[in-house]
Amino acid sequence: MSDSHDHDAELMLRVRDGDILAFEELVEKYKQLVIHVAYRSLKDQAEAEDLAQTVFVQVFKSASRYEPTAKFSTWLFTICRNLCLNEIRRRSRHPAESLDEPVQYSEDSAPRQYEDLKVPGASDLLLREELEQKIDEAINDLPENQRTALMLCKQEEASYEDISAILGCSLSATKSLIHRARETLKMKLKPYLKSGVWQQ
């Protein structure tokens, strides 16, 4: 655990000294989880990627002030969460029209349906897709802090201390958030937990 911690800190110190390749290594390592955490907050992949890009640029800009007092990942996800919260606040002030709203088409102008090539047609994948969709919905329905806490558990070498530092709350409050999130998910996904569909 400390090896990886030291490695990230070492990379960041190299970034501070102007080593761009070290920064690229950090981006490669953390990009997926940062985008995922942003996606869970913003519920839009393109926006999540834009925000993740801003997160990494912010990290680079702040590299000169970086001191390896805390874990790099804690620092990174704190920046990520703050930017996500800013974006959520901005959205609440300037709500945009959703493209997911059902659109009324006239008979002549009805959109053509195209086959989604990304989705394999095999029926055995339908169940998994449905399950993934249910998990997605259940997670999206969680309150923001519970959702973020749950996502941060996915970090490699995550610790409750790190998660509580990112969320800015106490250790017991963090555990309580995760516990409540898991209990809600258990309730919502109960049929899938029982049937064992997830095992496929």
């Binding site: 990009k31 997926q32 680079f60 898991r182």
Partner: protein, 166 residues
Amino acid sequence: MADKNYQELKEQSWIRELTSTEKAELQSFLSEHPELQSEWEGDVCLTELLEHESLVVPSSNFTSLVMKEVLRLEKARNRRPQSLWTHFITGRWIPRVSLAAVAALVLFLSVHQYQQNARAEMALSVDRMMKVVTVPQMEWLQDFEAINCLQVPPPSTDDGLMQALE
């Protein structure tokens, strides 16, 4: 194993896989407390379910976009901090500073010249005054009070002469 330990192990299982020792410890605890077995199984199922949650796959050019932006920033940053000497050689402020220095010098010399002229003129005036007004000698001034106190009347011979002339 106390309930507290069970809770701790459960919490640890939310963020990482338990070690074989921890698993054995947990199994022995659950065999003693079968009422908690279903709760634990539900927890394990949820953990595995969440592990199957598909992570968002980043765009293939995500890293290159970030690096492009970072390189742009780096380039801008390198352009900014020029040495003082480079600034001195290439800076646009040199003509302005030179002009300001020349203007300040001209102003200084003008003021200096004006003061010189004013002083010379004053000295000339004082000299002229000295020539026109003759100041009594210092000894006279020193004895002035004593002479003034004498109140000597004009000599009587002078009076007689004046009367004879009339």
